[in-house]
Point group: C2
Chain length 596, copies 2
């Protein structure tokens, strides 16, 4: 199976060369987060991930979680590894100092999360969801609740979940039925059943803190009657000590395609005591705060899967000997050439590399905007600008990078041929594990609607225009080596096309709102390719500065950028054609005539 | 999980309306294969598949095959179902009458095989590979060998396999090491080890007949020294009775992504007695005869997977209530609209429908050419024409339809959202099972090289030009309803573009043979979309004749054809752009600079 190596050099290239992360952190007042510290954290995180988390990936898949007598047991080794993870302080890295966190930037933790996800997607979900729950508690909980729950969440002794989905409502949360009844002491009694709760139950921590959406008795129907609650698995006294069971239980776990090491639970609330977060009936808004950051994290999972699969495929392609190169023997001392000499194998490897590295650059930049959005030292203008960009790019990154991450893992299987299909090589597990990222936290279809309907058309084009104009101006102001200038022209043309495409849909949508849904996924994929190309051109430009110091890296970045503009960006054109089609071709067939 | 219903009406539409199969069979001298008999066979096959084979799909996946003490045990119920399959005479349908077969056409059996594969991919592989082994024995074995082995293979009491791959050689069979030593009695002694042998060992049949490629002692190196052998698991006397074990054993079975109900075996030959098929050192040519038919069968697996996934997704989309249609409430009596009202859900369903039905039309037409190629009653000119078309279209159908079949199953998962990821719903199993079809019998990359290098450029364009010219002339001669005429124009333009694209690659390849490998997969995908569109236009035209008799079916075919031309065929354009790129963007990066 592929041995994961944290690609530190690649990560450092993005952080230091393209994002100038040291200056970024200094501007936000993170005094400790010097470039040296960043490198030290990455190195330690890499070691820990490679030696503790990665070795459990296969066993996690094979054994999966067990559900006996209402309790979930994680695969062999997970509990011990998680304890090491706590002992080493990793859960605390970017958490608030007042509750025992190290207070380092969100973006630095994201780099570590990418490593963990690449090494072991199922394992990485435990801290991932816990951080989401903590962010929600920090944003919407009162001080007493924070003081009661945060310290052990920060340390990792407790973990958290997000409980949204019910059997009859996934994308459409307005249909939810879980009921919250106010109690005399100010708490609520929660009754209902949630499904698909990742990390919902397990044996890694002594308590699990569920963030739950529910409807307070008498609340309005639909999404305007949704409130947010904190509901711990074990009841907790004011001083933070556990006093016994709360009315929360795991009803069953799902058998599923992948991420076997993370239990996907039915969680039942039977008269469970919960605590309101934020205002009544404003729960969905509160959820969205959380979901934006969570979706950047899921986008990083796509990057992680592409990276892991690329590493496995590349190692295989260098070793495996099959057939001679069409352009002449390349390894005369061997019975056949290594398959990396074959152009189509290179097409697959370069696609993986382009997704992993370009996706990484995008996700890290977005994480740097999250840093800004959380900062109290920057101007409100800078914060708004970062939030606007995040708002626009989050659905693109989430959907595009998870779809491309999945494609990358599928290509990884193809590089290995039949061996890719065999569990032993680990390539097929990557495919199965990463498919979930195209589904949870909003499917690709939901992201596309969020992008086109809410973000782009919902702002009457202002969000998009702001972004594209700023990007175009910035690119025009850059001094580029001659070889990269045609790429800039190509990118600028695509930015213009993006605007025109949007304009066309907006006009059609005024006549018929179904035009939005009909165009949405192709629109998002178009945007994804453009944004990916933008990141690659940025990297190629940054790499130019390394021409003397690291000519290999410079060459790798620039040649891969050419590949992206020659062989990936052209796919944007067909998505543009499809997004420009009328919805008629989708809507005209009556439901009854679909057949079967 | 999805309940498979054999789509008889769809199958009959292709057979009767677009292929006029009754006349086709009559011309080939299949007196018994009247339209009524065809319908009767389909109906019975449908019943058998739905009631006996489909119910074992899930248990086959869950239990998988077991390997204990050198023996493979198939999942619960497989053995009993296979016995019913034999008792009902299904293995004999299209097999030679002189050995107990029913002598019906190959194409009729393929329709049944599609059903079986859709219902249970792993199960369908047992008879599928057995038919391949029989075809090889009939084509290359002498009469005595046929008399000894065919009767029980035909009846299904014995099954067959194809043993090609070794640990160090998959695509590159010239590297094989399995050794054949001539014995005094004219037989050979086989020594070596094969891997990835599907249906390689099991408990369904009392004997397994392996078709094995090996190198006779002293044979030339490479592909010119490969010979073909028949090597039974159990030794068989001249009268066909089993006399004891032969030196053939199963060394282990693979744990793999899918098709768990079919053991993928390491098969060891230790002094096993084998019999030469055909001439010494001509084994690879003999294999290719077999492989063409096998690849049509694998293409049908892509169709089958798309069909099964479409059925599951469609049923879900009609029932599942989430959100309101953007263009106004469609189900006011319900808490939300069924998701089939949403344009993007329709995009996914129509894509699945287009692949399943268009792919079916392609595969059935190709099967009708196989009928012709096997017929002794047609002119040699007609036979050569059928073989030429098969030769060109086989790699296209195999690679394109398995890639699209996989895409269809992935869309099927997306339609169900998180439920698609859960095993219970059966949608993710379809994805895992069908991924193998993109790999075995030659990966997509190998098919693409076969198409572009061997078939198209290898015939100096003659094969392709013949096909495109014929198609263009045929379409120009058709009388089409006005609404379909723009589609014809679009198709003709693509046929012309296909020629130009080929011309461009041919010119570049003269300078640099790597241009072939660099263009190959995109070239194949371009061809696949064009061929698919051709089939849809044929169906839309044939459906026009049903306007009065079956207006719903007519509408379904024509609207789906518009969808294909509006939303699938445009993807050909981006593949054309990519296939026209220079290989530089793939070849310039030195292997060492790929990183990691």
């Amino acid at each position: 199976m592929p041995v994961y190596h944290a690609p530190l050099k690649e990560m450092q290239f993005v952080l230091h060369q393209t994002l100038n992360i040291g200056q970024h952190y200094a501007e936000l007042g993170y005094q400790d987060a010097t470039p040296d510290l960043v490198d030290a954290v990455l190195e330690e995180a890499g070691k820990f991930t490679e030696s503790v988390i990665a070795p459990l990936n296969r066993v996690g898949d094979e054994q999966g979680c067990r559900f006996d007598n209402g309790e979930v047991t994680t695969p062999e080794g997970f509990k011990a590894a998680y304890q090491q993870y706590i002992d080493a302080g990793w859960p605390t890295l970017a958490q608030p100092t007042q509750f025992g966190g190290q207070g380092l930037p969100y973006s630095l933790n994201l780099v570590c999360a990418e490593m963990q996800s690449a090494a072991n997607h199922a394992f990485a979900m435990y801290p991932g969801l816990s951080h989401g729950a903590q962010a929600t508690l920090m944003a919407h909980g009162d001080e007493a609740l924070q003081a009661r729950f945060m310290p052990k969440l920060v340390s990792g002794e407790w973990t958290g979940t997000m409980c949204l989905t019910e059997a009859h409502c996934g994308s459409d949360l307005g249909l939810l039925r879980t009921k919250a009844t106010p109690q005399e002491d100010g708490s609520y009694r929660l009754d209902g059943s949630k499904i698909f709760i990742s990390s919902g139950d397990h044996d890694l921590a002594e308590n699990i803190v569920h963030i739950v959406i529910a409807r307070i008795e008498g609340a309005p129907a639909g999404t305007k009657g949704i409130s947010l609650f904190l509901v711990p698995k074990m009841a907790v006294a004011d001083d933070g000590s556990i006093t016994g069971r709360n009315g929360v239980s795991c009803g069953s776990i799902e058998h599923k395609m992948g991420i076997h090491g993370n239990a996907t639970c039915v969680i039942n609330f039977d008269g469970a005591t919960g605590y309101l977060l934020g205002e009544p009936n404003r729960g969905l808004n509160a959820m969205f705060t959380f979901m934006n950051a969570a979706r950047v994290g899921v986008a990083a999972e796509g990057v992680a899967a592409a990276e892991a699969s690329f590493q496995g495929a590349l190692a295989y392609a260098r070793e495996r000997l099959q057939m001679r190169s069409l352009s002449g023997i390349k390894a005369p001392d061997k019975p056949a050439d290594p398959i990396i000499v074959h152009p189509d194998v290179r097409r697959m490897l370069l696609t993986q590399k382009a997704i992993a590295e370009g996706g990484r650059a995008l996700v890290y930049e977005m994480a740097s905007w999250v840093d800004i959005s959380k900062s109290s030292t920057v101007s409100s203008e800078a914060r708004q600008r970062a939030e606007a960009r995040l708002s626009l790019l989050t659905p693109i990154a989430k959907a595009f990078l998870t779809e491309m991450g999945f494609e990358a893992t599928s290509l990884g299987v193809q590089v290995l041929g039949g061996h890719g299909y065999v569990a032993e090589w680990g390539m097929e597990q990557l495919m199965r594990d990463t498919k979930i990222s195209c589904l949870y936290e909003g499917t690709t279809g939901i992201q596309a609607l969020d992008l086109l309907a809410r973000k782009v058309l919902g702002s009457r084009g202002a969000l998009l225009e702001g972004y594209c104009t700023e990007l175009a101006q910035w690119w025009q102001a850059q001094t580029l080596p001659e070889s990269l200038q045609p790429l800039r022209q190509q990118l600028l043309a695509h930015l213009q096309q993006w605007g025109e495409l949007t304009q066309g849909i907006a006009v059609r949508a005024q006549q018929n709102p179904d035009e939005i849904g009909a165009a949405s996924v192709d629109y998002l994929m178009f945007a994804g390719y453009v944004v990916l190309a933008h990141q690659w051109l940025k990297m190629a430009m940054a790499a130019d500065a390394l021409k003397e110091r690291d000519p290999d890296l410079c060459q790798a970045k620039q040649e891969t950028a050419y590949f992206v503009f020659a062989r990936l960006l052209p796919k944007a054109a067909s998505h543009a054609v499809l997004a420009a089609q009328s919805s008629d071709s989708l809507m005209r067939l009556p439901e009854s005539a679909f057949g079967r």
